[in-house]
């Protein structure tokens, strides 16, 4: 079952300008959630904005019965979200969507997050480390001050690398370039990524070039979030490579094998 919960906000803090982490008390969702899944959040009881907001699960704490989201304020919906205070009730539905497949044979993995796309990857990286995997975590951001996770991952057991557009920290350039340089030096059993579309397109290219399976988390405008409205589709290869079809990001995804996703219409 999907859980529909009027949950209590525990904290809602700005971590860097326009970026917030909200921790929500929802024991049932915390128990069931898997890395890559998302919540569908009702940000207001008014009719504008009308729709819920799909936001990936950033972290969960089973003992505390809580889940966290990391979000960037970009429009009215996320603006409203940022106004929630500890103790407020917020309606969430979840956990929704599929998850990043952490197959037993994937022992050495690379996790690549770009910008706010890094949000669902902390949960994945920590689960992977806790299950004894070797994890390289690459975070890409505009500049040093826009990095969201890398400093928190220091003690996590992940190897952490950073790429910034302006070179203010770590590699100067895109996280995909940094991944490419690592793929030249070491082999990975799987790559996991979330971030802007051009970055995911680059991940697909690297996945094919280095014959390394990659799993990418996609975003598309959503209506229902549970597979009924067919709004949030992405184009994937069908008929053994001869054709294409639309798949639902909310229930067939949000995680897709990179090789299946067709980025150009």
């Amino acid at each position: 079952m999907i859980i529909d919960d009027n949950a209590r906000v525990i904290t809602n803090k700005m971590i860097i300008p326009a970026h917030y982490v909200m921790e929500i008390h929802s024991p049932d969702i915390a128990l069931k959630a898997l890395p890559g899944q998302f919540l569908h959040i009702k940000v207001t009881n008014n009719t504008s904005p009308l729709l819920r907001r799909p936001i990936s699960i950033h972290m969960r704490d089973r003992e505390k019965g809580s889940i966290s989201i990391l979000y960037r304020v970009v429009g009215t919906g996320t603006q409203l979200l940022s106004h929630y205070k500890p103790g407020d009730r917020i309606n969430i539905i979840g956990p929704l969507g599929n998850c990043f497949p952490l197959a037993a044979e994937f022992k050495r993995i690379a996790v690549v997050g770009g910008g706010i796309g890094t949000a669902p990857l902390l949960f994945l990286a920590l689960e992977a480390v806790n299950s004894g995997r070797d994890v390289l975590y690459i975070e890409g951001a505009r500049c040093r001050d826009a990095l969201l996770l890398s400093e928190h991952l220091g003690n996590s057991g992940c190897r952490v690398m950073v790429a910034t557009d302006d070179g203010s920290l770590g590699y100067r350039g895109f996280p995909t370039e940094l991944l490419k340089s690592r793929l030249e030096r070491e082999s990975f059993d799987a790559v996991y990524a979330c971030g802007p579309k051009p970055m995911l397109k680059g991940i697909k290219k690297l996945s094919l070039e280095y014959r390394t399976p990659a799993f990418i988390s996609l975003e598309e405008r959503m209506g229902c979030g549970i597979g009924a409205c067919l709004s949030c589709v992405c184009k994937v290869i069908a008929d053994g490579g001869r054709g294409a079809e639309y798949r639902k990001v909310c229930t067939d995804g949000p995680v897709f094998p990179a090789e299946a996703v067709m980025f150009d219409e």
């Binding site: 009702k42 539905i93 549970i226 409205c229 709004s231 949030c232 589709v233």
Partner: protein
Amino acid sequence: MSDIIFEVRIKGPDPKRELIMKNPVMTASGTFGFGREYSRLYDLNRLGAITVKGITIEPRRGNPPPRLIETPSGILNSIGLQNPGLEGFIGDELPYLRRLSTPVIVNISGNTIEEYAFLASELDRVEGVSALEVNVSCPNVKEGCMAFGIKKDSLFSVVSAVRKSTTLPVIVKLSPNVRDIAEMAETAENAGADAVSLVNTFLGMAIDIDRKKPLLANTFGGLSGPAIKPIALRMVWEVYERVDIPVIGMGGIMNWKDAVEFILAGAASVAVGTANFVNPTAPLEIIDGIENYMIREGINDIRELIGLGHRLPA
């Protein structure tokens, strides 16, 4: 439970195939998938009826994304009738739906009159289908569909052809994108419709001022949600005054108060659409809300409420 009579019936030509809803709340086609999606949230047997996603003879891939844009108090969609086709529906979706006690209404679309008639005759013999909703009002496909619903003669032809092909109750889903919706409802009634449902979405669009291009990949889409409610309500009111067959009201119903307005305007039952996305349990809250309203108002039978707004002095 109270003693309230909540049942709504839509009679077809065959007395044995009447559509019987235990309450007046159904889900609107295109907003509820094939039911199974929402069964993960609540017991679908509580609904009056389920109207499933529109189907065509062949599977359809639908329109490219983006397919949905949020507008003030509404949404614009251009899904383009993505569906698994008749065979896919019967093989993959209907077996689950058959297990429910809630009647299933199948929404059908075609490119030609013959396609509508074929779908009607095929579904006529399939177990688990309680009524057909003829979609002559989808604004998001290039051929057919809305083209049939905005001209009187083609509407008459489609509905007559469907009528001849089935003994199931036939509901005709009307387009609001017409000059006179009551006239269209009358046409559907004259062609043999057992009920009309209204309204489908309003043709609309939105433009990205930075890219200076339409936001929907398909340029135009169908507007739904609370933004259209006053217009949909007016149309239900007008149609109720013109036809003798039941009217199914829809268009921006978000809560029980909206639903009661539609019933007072003449809707024998109401369909919940966009609200499913915002609040998945909205249909259940609406069922309870209407019932509580009837208790409060001392109304024992839903039939007393239908169209009451027309009968009371101003």
